[in-house]
Amino acid sequence: MYTLTIVTPEKRLVGGQEIEEVFVPGFRGELNFLPGHAPLLTTLGTGVVKYRLKGENQLRYVAVSGGYCQVQPQGVNVLAEIAEPAEDVDVATAEEMQKTVEHRLATESLEPEEIKKLQDELARARARIDAARGLRKE
C-alpha cells in the first residue's frame, strides 16, 4: 500500500488513496515519488501535484502552494496551505489574474516586498492554469 494524502486547513482533498506514483513541486524543483522511495521531508513550492491512482492510467492534477510534503515508507503526505483540484479551477479568472499581475510587474515601479508578493501571486495563477491545462490535455 502506497498512499497519498493531501490536506489543507479547509479540507481534505485526497484521503489516503492508493497510488502508483506522485509528482510534487518540492523546494528544489519537481520530485517524483514511487513506492519504495527513501524517507524525505521537503517544503512545498508553488506548482502542480500530479498523481496516478492505482489501476488508473490518467494523471490527476492539483494546484498547490505552501506547506510541506513528507515521504514515508507507507506513502506521501502533503500538507498544503492552498490546494485546488484541476476540476475546480476557473481558468478565465486565473488567466485574467496572470495578465494583471504580469502587467503590473512590467509597468509599475514597486517596492521589493510588493514585487515578492506579486511574484507569489503570479506563481499561484500559473500553477492553477497549468493544473487545468494538464487536465484538458488528457
Binding site: 486547513p9 479547509e10 527513501a38 521531508l41 505552501g66 500538507l79
Partner: protein, 293 residues
C-alpha cells in the same frame, strides 16, 4: 388588575419575541454546522503541522526564537477573544470573568500584563473596569478568514520578536460540543514543542537515511510562521463555532421560556375573560330580577 387588552398585547409581543429567538436559533444551528465541519479538519491539520515541526526541532536540535522558552517571563500579553455580538448566553461572560481573575491573581507575578481584545464584548466589559488594552480588534467578519487571522498572527510575532513581550497567551472558548464550551488559556508564544513532539529526544526519531530539503533548520524556519498563522486561525474558528453553539443553546432556552410565558399569559387571559363574563351575567340577571320584583 390588568385589563384584557393589556394581557392581549403582552401575549402578542411575547409571540413576536419567540419568533425572533426561534429564527436566531435556526440561523445559529446552520452556521454552527458549517463551523464545526471546518474545525474538525483544521484541528487535524494544525496538530500534524505542529508535531512535524516539533519532531524536526527536537530530533535535529534546531533552535528558533519562537521556540525558546524564557526562564523568567516578566512581560505578558493576554489576547482575549470574544464575540462582537451578544445574546449567546454565558459565552462572553465566562471569558471576561476568567480574564478579570487572571489579571487580579497574576498582577504581582509579572511585571506587566497587557491586554489585546479581539471582539467588542471584552472591550466593552473592561472599558468600565479601567483596564486599558494595547489595542482592540473589532468587526470580526461573520466568518473568520485565514487572511485576517494571518494579520493578527503577524502582529503578535512582531511584538514578540521585538522583545515587547516574553510570553503571549490567548484566552478563548474552546469548542467542545454544541452545548459545551470551555474557557481555555493557551500559551501562543513561545510555541511549546516539547509536549507536541511525537518522537523522543533520545532516539534518532526519523530514519537515519531521511532526506531533508532544505536543511532541517530552514524547514523549521519556513514552517513555523505558517504554523503560527494556522494556530491563530484555529483558535478563532474554535471561538466562532463555540459562539454559534452558545447562541443556539441560549436561543433555544429563550424560545422555550417564551412558550411558557405565552401559556401562562393565555391562562390568565382566559380566567380574566371568564370572570368578566360571569360578572356581566350576574349584573344582567340581577337587573332582570330587580325589574321583575
Amino acid at each position: 388588575m390588568p385589563s384584557l387588552k393589556d394581557i392581549r398585547s403582552r401575549i402578542e409581543s411575547t409571540v413576536n419575541t419567540q419568533q425572533i429567538t426561534r429564527a436566531m436559533k435556526m440561523v445559529s444551528a446552520a452556521k454552527l454546522r458549517r463551523a464545526q465541519h471546518n474545525i474538525v479538519n483544521l484541528r487535524q491539520y494544525a496538530s500534524s503541522l505542529l508535531s512535524m515541526i516539533a519532531d524536526i526541532a527536537v530530533t535535529q536540535r534546531v533552535s528558533h526564537p519562537l521556540l525558546t522558552r524564557k526562564s523568567d517571563p516578566k512581560k505578558i500579553l493576554l489576547v482575549v477573544l470574544t464575540s462582537d455580538r451578544g445574546l449567546c448566553g454565558a459565552f462572553n461572560t465566562n471569558i471576561n470573568k476568567f480574564t478579570e481573575r487572571f489579571l487580579r491573581e497574576n498582577r504581582h507575578r509579572f511585571e506587566t500584563i497587557d491586554c489585546l481584545f479581539i471582539g467588542r464584548k471584552a472591550a466593552d466589559y473592561f472599558k468600565s473596569r479601567n483596564v486599558k488594552p494595547v489595542d482592540t480588534i473589532l468587526n470580526l467578519a461573520r466568518d473568520v478568514s485565514f487572511d485576517m487571522a494571518a494579520k493578527v498572527a503577524e502582529r503578535l510575532i512582531e511584538a514578540y520578536t521585538a522583545g515587547q513581550y516574553d510570553e503571549i497567551r490567548l484566552v478563548y472558548n474552546e469548542f467542545k460540543s454544541a452545548i459545551q464550551q470551555n474557557v481555555v488559556c493557551e500559551t501562543l508564544l513561545p510555541i511549546d514543542i516539547e509536549s507536541a513532539a511525537t518522537l523522543n529526544k533520545g532516539t534518532s526519531g526519523f530514519p537515519p537515511d531521511m532526506i531533508f530539503e532544505p536543511a532541517p533548520a530552514e524547514i523549521v524556519e519556513h514552517l513555523i510562521v505558517r504554523h503560527f498563522n494556522v494556530q491563530v486561525y484555529r483558535c478563532m474558528s474554535e471561538s466562532v463555532a463555540a459562539e454559534h453553539g452558545a447562541r443556539m443553546t441560549a436561543m433555544e432556552n429563550a424560545t422555550k421560556n417564551a412558550g411558557e410565558m405565552i401559556n401562562k399569559l393565555t391562562l390568565t387571559y382566559n380566567k380574566l375573560r371568564q370572570a368578566y363574563i360571569t360578572t356581566e351575567l350576574i349584573e344582567i340577571t340581577s337587573g332582570a330580577e330587580a325589574l321583575k320584583g
